[in-house]
Amino acid sequence: MIRLVPRTDISPWLAIISPVAAMFATVVAGALIFTFLGYNAAESLYHFFISPLSRVDRITDLVVKACPLMIIALGLVFCYRANIWNIGAEGQYIIGALAAGWLALSFPDTTSPLLLPAMMAIALIAGGAWAAIAALCKTIFNANEILVTLMLSYVAALVMDVLVRGPLRDPMAFGFPLTPMYPDTGLISRMPLPGFGYIGQLHYGVLIAFALAPLAWWLLNRTLPGFQVKVMGSSPRAGRFAGFSQKWTTIGVLLLSGALAGLAGMVEVSANIGQLQPNVSFGYGFTAIIVAFLARLNPIGVIFAGLLVAMAELGGDNAQIALGIPKVVTGLFKGILLFFLLAGATLQQYRITWRSSQAKTKEGEMTS
């Protein structure tokens, strides 16, 4: 019988090796699946993993795509570190985009430079508020936050749908369910790289993502609230003895992750779409969960993880265009990646042993 025995010495190298190994295993599994489906494995893997890096504008697309993933994942890192399973980042993202959009559309003729910061603020507040519903349900009623946040994300998508098709609809849109375009001051403009000019869709929003990551790291590892989050996640009893409140930790991390998800929604719409439509998210909220885990819940790791997952997403698009591979294969990849990641995390903590060696192990434990 195979058994899992806790490791007594956990090498820090494993923390870096296991995500890499998980990626490798995913690639292998992917090659197998492609062959099984009848596609050329080498070609498919090229399109999936190499082609997103082959041109400069594709690299900037990578960064642009990773931007919302990174922002959301940074918030989720805090939540998951505190053992609060916020699965509804998708809904918080949508509500943030919705609130910012409502603000922008309420002032269609403004030229004030304050519009963009105001939109960010309202997105933060709205996303946080949506997550706060789950926080209240958990702290007051002890309802499971996984289910509440998840249900709320379905509800959020429907709210966006009904508002875009109804009160916010653009009467000049030929019947399409679209809102009018945001005023120019509500858009995030493209960012020129010095020496290169404008490349692809690169916009100022990516600076937010790259600035937030070190900030989040500092907050988590160098401040008392960050320490509180880590303690309450790994040992709630110890935290309570230290005077930390489970209730406020829960509320705090949920508000933070909701706010960041809302901000991501606002940035994504203002930078890339410029108006609201029933579908502003392409599963970013759920993909960000994988990013957070791939980053091993480390804010700096989120940058790399976000870029990697964005690469897989773009790769899926390219593979679909070039080889006709169905888009759902990308979802398949993400699932396999998550599976191998979790397996790697488990193997980091536990060793696999065979029953025959159990006698030796016990002996060793008794004499040591």
Partner: protein, 285 residues
């Protein structure tokens, strides 16, 4: 009126089956969050098999097997895979399960056609619920399952294999969820579309909590949620002034309300929680 009852019942069957399976898994101490994925796999497997063989009954078996096979995998994986496997099946309609009419009893007014002129999976669902209830309460194996879920250390000390009980419970949970998912393309809407379970797996999870881990209460819960889901269609048909999206929100909002209510009952309701749910088991720890 009969038609309304029929649709409510039909809509609640997937929830019923999935929640029942999850109940067994949770009673053994495993919090299996992959119900949504298992239902989708069951749906795609059932439809695929039926299109291939032409016999809708093979759909039930295929659904159960597929759900069981992936009951150990993750939801996201199964969602993607079912979308992949189902891609060639989009748009095709298939033979649905025929109704089995029980003579005499089905001639009773109202409850006749509602209860006794249904398809096999419908009867099977209620049989499974009854069987589960009896299994948990009255058989030795059921007691062992409950023991493993409530205190796995004691169960292990008594010599029961915790891992084996949990594997079997999760496999059963997967089979039921797969059958619940299979019901959707086999009976409700005889075709395939990506993500056709629309979050029902998650609602089934909440249903288990709502039912205080008792199979008989799952029937009540499933009927309520089935009714709420139907309200969206019924409301549209009757021309209610409420936008359809708001009605579509109702099952999800109702789930939240149900969760809040059940959790609010404080410590008393938590007497029925399997005490070791979600805790990994390590012998000798």
């Amino acid at each position: 009126m009969t038609a309304l009852i029929l649709t409510v019942l039909a809509t609640s069957i997937p929830l019923l089956l999935a929640a029942n399976g999850e109940l067994i898994a949770e009673r053994s101490g495993v919090l299996n969050l992959g119900v949504e994925g298992m239902m989708l796999m069951g749906a795609v497997a059932a439809l695929g098999i039926v299109l291939y063989t032409g016999n809708p009954y093979t759909g039930i078996v295929a659904g159960a097997l597929a759900g069981m096979a992936v009951s150990l995998a993750l939801t996201i994986f199964a969602t993607g895979f079912s979308g992949l496997a189902g891609a060639p099946l989009v748009g095709k309609t298939s033979a649905s399960l025929p109704k089995i009419i029980i003579p005499l009893l089905s001639d009773l007014p109202v409850i006749g056609p509602v209860l006794f002129a249904q398809d096999l999976l419908f009867y099977l669902a209620f049989l499974i619920i009854a069987g589960t209830s009896w299994f948990l309460a009255k058989t030795r194996s059921g007691m062992i399952l409950r023991a493993v879920g409530d205190n796995h250390d004691s169960a292990h000390a008594l010599g029961y294999s915790v891992a084996r009980v949990r594997w079997m419970a999760v496999a059963f949970g997967g089979a039921c969820a797969g059958m619940g998912g299979a019901y959707i393309p086999l009976v409700l809407t005889p075709h395939w579309s990506e993500g056709m379970t629309a979050g029902r797996g998650w609602i089934a999870l909440a249903l288990v909590v709502f039912a205080s881990w008792m199979p008989s209460r799952i029937v009540v819960g499933a009927l309520i949620f089935g009714g709420i889901t139907i309200m969206q269609l019924a409301g549209q048909a009757r021309g209610w002034a409420v936008p359809s999206q708001v009605l579509s929100m109702l099952p999800y909002l109702a789930t939240i309300v149900a969760l809040v209510l059940i959790s609010m009952r404080g410590k008393s309701s938590y007497l029925t929680v399997p005490a070791c749910i979600g805790k990994p088991f390590h012998p000798g720890s």
